[in-house]
Symmetry: C2
Subunit: 106 residues, 2 copies
DNA sequence: TTAGACTTGTCAATTTTCGACAAATTTAAT
DNA sequence: ATTAAATTTGTCGAAAATTGACAAGTCTAA
């Protein structure tokens, strides 16, 4: 089962047996805020992804994919978006890509 | 082909043969800002959906679906999210729904 | 060339998000 | 039970993003 990004960080942290305070220090933030992030009460700031990847020796691209899908999932969840509507959104995204492409060539 | 929300508003407006100034007045905003909205340079404020529905006699639920899918499309587009990743995001959204459900029953 | 429709740039005001600190609460070991 | 460390929660001001408003610009059609 997929997890939230916060739960994922907690998992990584526990695997390395780090405390909130220890990991927070490595990430240049407060342990209180990291706690909120792990518990889904705040968002992880995208700017810190490279640092996070480095700490846990993760591929940055893959980590960013974890992050992006989590953010999208949150958006889908919060807007009560059904599978059907998600399909429509996907088509609209394709349309935006097309728009951008035709704009480039002009 | 699906359109952006801004293009959709422009379509509605032209169908009723309203000017930017006229529609903007009905929506309680500046014609300059409405122009930006139609051209995708600003977001339409969700708070105005009921007003928009009323002006064009649209079903609010359906209009909101148009809006939500547009916002998601923008998110998908801006994060360069592939179909594959979107699938992951959908699963994560399902997980969030499940989390919330189990939280409710406690 | 003038009027009306639309677009673009800018800035202050509002709103939202974020980092930090203090004060709880929880957990684990003695 | 008592203590210490780990975690959580509440609140605050600062930083960032969004929005509304105004001014000045372009474009189009008489």
């Amino acid at each position: 089962m997929k997890t939230t990004f916060g739960e994922y960080i907690r998992l990584l942290r526990h695997n390395k047996e780090l405390t909130l305070t220890q990991l927070a220090a490595k990430l240049n933030l407060d342990s209180a805020n990291l706690s909120k992030i792990e518990n889904g009460k705040r968002d992880f700031d995208e700017k810190r992804l490279p640092k996070l990847a480095k700490i846990f020796k993760l591929n940055l691209i893959e980590l960013r994919n974890e992050y992006v899908t989590d953010q999208l999932a949150k958006h889908i969840y919060e807007t009560n978006c059904t599978k059907q509507l998600l399909q429509v959104a996907e088509e609209k995204a394709a349309y935006r890509r097309k728009l951008n492409k035709s704009f480039q060539t002009k």
